[in-house]
Symmetry: C2
Subunit: 325 residues, 2 copies
């Protein structure tokens, strides 16, 4: 008999969500595969759902016949993103973090919206244990306002950010757990393999990015997912290649690379950015509108998860986005 407590795999979750949204709660196997991925896995999920009495399978079509027993987290409606963003921007107005010692520069609310939209589409929020590594842009708050994750945790070095999140956490649909942590130090064992998703906007240097990814991968479960912002402005393609190779060696497949995705706020202080003092003299005015953008990377653990292999010697010098060399 169907157990509402049964653990559903990610493909099965996607199949259920797709059917719930579909007209007449039915889709043919072809459309379902387009939405949910690898055809053989989608068929397996459909047959499992048949076995537990939730769907009927006929003429290439999967029809939901009994949805009352699906777990609550799958059945509940998404809150409209506009509403989420309205509340999120109100929190942003109460707190701006821009401490260069911590390489803080927030992505714009539009970028938060875009990232949430991708995470919803990929089903990386519902019932997930989400980890935000560094949270000066309050992305954890946006996640919480969707009311979808199972839990939200931030690793953060700045006590001001932690203080603010702790203060507002009780007002939020899902409380945010704050962990005061310097990623330079190794991750406490208790966090290993504890999260479904990590989200990070690391310093845009090779070692800075890989340090964040290294801790993040340790924190991920064996079928975990990550979202990573990486720029073209201060990292060239040779450096991208180095980062990508190191990431793939941990067993993670890249599933999405979306360019010009995340706009950052402008603070008008580009000329004081690390290394920017070396720019030629005619570069003497800061930017007038947002220009610093990141590409969004999404990856999934696809093989056996392995720790990152990379020398973090001198990583301290690369914890600030900078023009190197």
């Amino acid at each position: 008999m169907y157990q509402s407590k049964m653990k559903l795999n990610k493909t099965t979750e996607k199949v259920i969500i797709s059917l719930l949204k579909a007209k007449g709660n039915k889709m043919d196997i072809w459309e379902l595969s387009r939405k949910c991925g690898y055809l053989l896995d989608v068929i397996k999920s459909a047959e499992l759902l048949k076995k537990v009495g939730a769907v009927k399978l006929e003429n290439s079509t999967v029809t939901l016949t009994n949805k009352i027993k699906f777990p609550e987290y799958l059945v509940k409606n998404e809150r409209p993103l506009n509403e989420v963003m309205r509340k999120y921007t109100a929190y942003r107005k109460r707190a701006v973090f821009s401490n260069d010692d911590y390489d803080q520069l927030s992505i714009l609310p539009g970028a938060v919206y875009n990232k949430l939209a991708v995470m919803l589409k990929k089903n990386d929020l519902r019932n997930r244990d989400v980890l935000c590594m560094g949270d000066d842009d309050l992305f954890s708050v946006a996640c919480s306002l969707t009311a979808l994750p199972k839990s939200i945790t931030i690793f953060e070095v700045d006590e001001k950010v932690i203080g603010f999140i702790n203060k507002i956490s009780r007002e939020l649909p899902i409380p945010i757990k704050t962990v005061s942590l310097n990623l330079l130090k190794s991750l406490p064992k208790s966090y290993s393999g504890s999260f479904d998703v990590f989200v990070a906007e690391p310093p845009d240097t090779v070692k800075g990015t890989l340090l964040f990814v290294s801790r993040g991968i340790q924190a991920l479960r064996k079928d975990g997912v990550f979202y990573l912002g990486m720029t073209e402005v201060t990292l060239n393609k040779k450096q991208w290649l180095e980062i990508e190779k190191t990431v793939l060696a941990t067993g993670i497949a890249l599933t999405d690379i979306i360019g010009d995705f995340e706009e950052y706020v402008i603070e008008g202080n580009e000329l004081t950015w690390k290394g920017f003092e070396k720019l030629p003299k005619w570069v003497n005015k800061p930017a007038k509108k947002p220009w610093f953008v990141s590409t969004l990377f999404r990856g999934e653990v696809a093989g056996v998860k392995k720790p990152i292999k990379f020398s973090f010697k001198d990583v301290k010098k690369e914890l600030i986005t900078s023009l190197l060399p």
Copy 2:
């Protein structure tokens, strides 16, 4: 003195194109970096253009002062994509290729449009030597109709495709060179390092994809670029990881992975696709609307280009998109 024949690097080309399109033919260095990539390279390009008397540099702003001597390929206007597509679809109507022996299934015109749009944005068409590996969807014709590439070549195994292209080639803005070639055989040396861009929609199997990529990489110049379609329908994430790792080992960095990008035509014969006869009995009706989609991968040679390392034993069995295992 400025030489109109001077060889411009890719960043400099992008800077010129961006300035030509900009209001007042000027942009500040920040916006220019957003459009053209790695900041230090953009600054180098701006200073080179200053040296040859083409721009002035002042207050962080690059202003075009003299454009008459830029090479023709940079100055000429893009033809509107809608016009390109109108002509392209007329050619498509004259020729449909769907020989399963060659794993032929065309992407829809909408996907051709999307791919051209990305190639324009990335400046991968102007003055490029473009190689289409397999051309049943007549993508070479669409490239030619933009009138931007320096040359267009197709590697094709199907004599019918070659015959059709040869027949129409003289009507096109840029003639298309056809090469009758079976990718199972090694590439004639004369094609090594001869192309700026290759475009492929390989059979969606690991070995099939890597065979195409292997020949393509051999054919690319040392700063070459590729566009590759890869599906989630018949390839799982473990297989994606294997393909991505092998690609990165050749010195190519992935710059874009755009999901649900290329829709394929439907022919209503899914049930006869290789391996699909093993699907369960309830899967007994073909699709009614397009469902088979590919993700678009773009990569750039970023390191030292190396040949692919992969065993192509039994690759013959994987030259048709199929459900494996």
